[in-house]
């Protein structure tokens, strides 16, 4: 286990911090992080492209307040200079108890900046206790 952080790890962590900061305060602005061809899976919702993603983020999610608490961020570099990021965390919506979740991101450079190409979110709730 290396003590020094690899550059893609720093990049991944910075991205995750920024993503949730925007998600929890200004959800409609979040779409700016997605590449025009980005794919998005959020529980049963599936979308591709900024318009569809924005529609889900702003119109389909029925809570007013949300807070993400990240437990772990795991990163791997890809051959095309991208980073695969897996987030393990918990979130709290309005007055509900906290839910555990996992979220996977793939970020990659495009036009001198990093964009989100893939985003998959799933609550960690199960069919049996």
């Amino acid at each position: 286990m290396s003590v020094t952080k690899m550059p893609w790890e720093t990049l991944g962590e910075q991205f995750v911090t920024q993503y949730y900061q925007i998600f929890d305060t200004n959800r409609e602005q979040l779409v700016a992080l997605y590449h025009p061809t980005a794919m998005f899976t959020f529980e049963e919702h599936k979308a591709q492209g900024q318009d569809q993603i924005k529609d889900i983020l702003t119109n389909k999610l029925r809570f007013s307040l949300i807070q993400h608490i990240v437990t772990k961020i795991d990163c791997q570099p890809t051959p095309e200079n991208g980073v695969i990021i897996l987030v393990t965390g918990r979130l709290k919506t309005d007055n509900d108890p906290p839910h555990a979740y996992s979220q996977l991101f793939y970020i990659k450079p495009a036009n001198d900046s990093f964009f989100l190409f893939h985003d998959i979110f799933r609550l960690s709730i199960h069919d049996t206790v």
Binding site: E43, R62, F63, P98, A100, H126, D127, V129
Partner: protein, 233 residues
């Protein structure tokens, strides 16, 4: 799940040391914001003794009650000690996410909409489909509640349409208010009557079946055999 398996779940707890005769699980369903949590809070006398099972996202409250079976001839029905578990979502319906665990183990359903939200009423149809798909049987016991009756001026669901829906699906209907307590007890009692009647019937049926086989069936035999039901649920 068969009726007898349903009964066994309650009767299985009827051991010598148990302090209650039946463990009954009800589930509150409906769109987010219709008042499910407030309703259950009102029913359990405003106590905060809720427990949360995070793996399945179920939040529940408990209440002990003495239930008297309704009779048709006006005599006093048998009394039973009931330990009632009231299951609530932990908000995952905001993400359109409810796992099947949620439906499967419940014996009765409090299906709720908000009298001031037409959308929540329209979605009752979707909830009924979900129920029929995932509940222990295709026609589970349900009580329909139009909540927020205290917000009289903001009502947006016409009575006639509610009556139509309730009649079409054979659902008892109550206008409720989690804020004032209006009909909260009545609605839950109504559901409990239905579920207890269903259990009585299935137990009676089991008794009859036992008698037909020429065996003397005792209460403990019955519980034993039903406890070993082959039901996969």
């Amino acid at each position: 799940m068969s009726d007898s398996a349903l009964a066994s779940e309650g009767a299985a707890k009827n051991g010598g040391t148990a302090e209650y005769d039946y463990l009954i699980k009800f589930l509150a369903l409906g769109d987010s914001g219709v008042g499910k949590t407030s309703f259950l809070y009102q029913y359990t006398d405003g106590t905060f003794n809720n427990k949360f099972i995070s793996t399945v996202g179920i939040d529940f409250r408990e209440k002990r009650i003495i239930h008297r079976l309704p009779t048709t001839d006006g005599t006093m029905g048998r009394t039973q000690r009931v330990h009632l578990q009231l299951w609530d979502t932990a908000g995952q319906e905001r993400f359109r996410s409810l796992t099947t665990a949620f439906f499967r183990d419940a014996m009765g359903f409090i299906l709720m909409f908000d009298l001031t939200s037409e959308q929540s009423f329209l979605n009752i149809r979707n909830w009924l489909v979900q129920l029929q798909t995932h509940a222990y049987c295709e026609n589970p016991d349900i009580v329909l509640c139009g909540n927020k009756a205290d917000l009289d001026e903001q009502r947006s669901v016409p009575d006639e349409r509610i009556r139509e829906l309730a009649e079409k699906h054979g659902l008892p209907y109550f206008e409720t208010s989690a804020a004032t307590g209006l009909n909260v007890m009545k609605a839950v009692d109504c559901l409990l009557d239905q579920v207890m009647l269903r259990m009585e019937k299935s137990i009676d049926k089991a008794h009859l079946l036992g008698a037909r086989n020429g065996q003397k069936v005792t209460e403990s035999d019955l519980e034993d055999s039903e406890g070993k039901s082959s039901c996969a649920c």
